[in-house]
Symmetry: C2
Subunit: 191 residues, 2 copies
């Protein structure tokens, strides 16, 4: 592989082939991601992620599943079995704005030299606990600070950041309302 095919660690040839393929056959842009989760006890539960559907077929690239542990700190009735779910949301968000920025920088021919982010999000537990129905249980707001060094002007970088925010799948799943359904699939057995 030629070095000039790689920009920001991405294979630009493959990137443009993917975009051309989607333009030619829009159905291959449809992806479905999946997860299974098992409650262990208290605030501890484990997720398993492996298969997904995308590019017109079931993905078979992962031999082993990824397993992640949700937990809670003692102040939230847990034992730090893992990070907690609202922290994993920040991880998803940080990763997504980072990868979206890297991708669109590559598409614009901008080389990213360094990129790190810090995130802060505020939550009022009155919402979760149902103590005040006027308080949203979710994040009140999330602030992302991006420390980025690139071979472009400040103006180009600011345009890239604005574009990133508008096109990041996780950021747009948080900024915009996404319909979520919860269905019960097992009949409770009284005991």
């Amino acid at each position: 592989m030629q070095d000039n095919q790689i920009i920001n660690g991405l294979n630009s040839i493959q990137m443009y082939e993917t975009i051309a393929a989607i333009k030619n056959q829009p159905e291959i842009a449809k992806f479905q991601f999946r997860l299974k989760n098992q409650w262990i006890g208290g605030g501890e539960n484990h997720s398993t992620i492996k298969d997904f559907y995308g590019a017109g077929q079931e993905d078979t690239s992962r031999r082993e599943p990824f397993v992640f542990v949700n937990g809670e700190p003692p102040v939230l009735l847990g034992n730090n079995e893992g990070a907690n779910p609202v922290e994993f949301l920040l991880h998803a968000l940080a990763g997504c704005v980072t990868t979206t920025l890297i991708l669109h920088a590559a598409a614009r021919g901008i080389k990213i030299q360094e990129l790190s982010t810090s995130l802060e999000g505020n939550i009022d537990l009155h919402g979760l606990l149902g103590l005040d129905e006027s308080v949203s249980p979710g994040y009140e707001q999330i602030r992302i600070k991006m420390n980025v060094k690139a071979d472009c002007s400040d103006e180009e970088l600011d345009k890239l950041l604005a574009f990133t925010k508008e096109h990041s799948p996780v950021c747009q799943s948080v900024c915009r309302p996404v319909p979520v359904s919860i269905e019960r699939v097992h009949v409770a057995s009284a005991s």
Copy 2:
């Protein structure tokens, strides 16, 4: 500790003390979660989670940080360095509805015997890639199936599930729009 203090793996005495403390001093319900993320290359980046603010003070319960790796599968230009950010969003969501259900079941005196969930979410890459601005880059919809066995009636269980959806912090961060800001903190250096 008496066994009857523990329900669904949660210490019910501590749970009611927390609720009483928040009613008495609403400020302690304010939490701030935080994360730092470092881009490695391509679709790979690493998050570090340790400290947070809550219950009126900086938490010091974690000696070591949690570290999580975002990656991408080959079809999305990566090498499966980790699960990808939209999959981590499902992990956060699964964990949060699970813990929220367990918590409010405990508050109602409902013992959960088994709980597992499966999630599916659909994304159309036209959004991420900026190929069709009418397509949201985020999840189009997310479906959660909960397999739950508990010592209560089906009616009580369905009420608990509906309450869980409305009070889960991650679910409500996805269902409702959350303001997200992205700020650049480093000046680009042309090179």
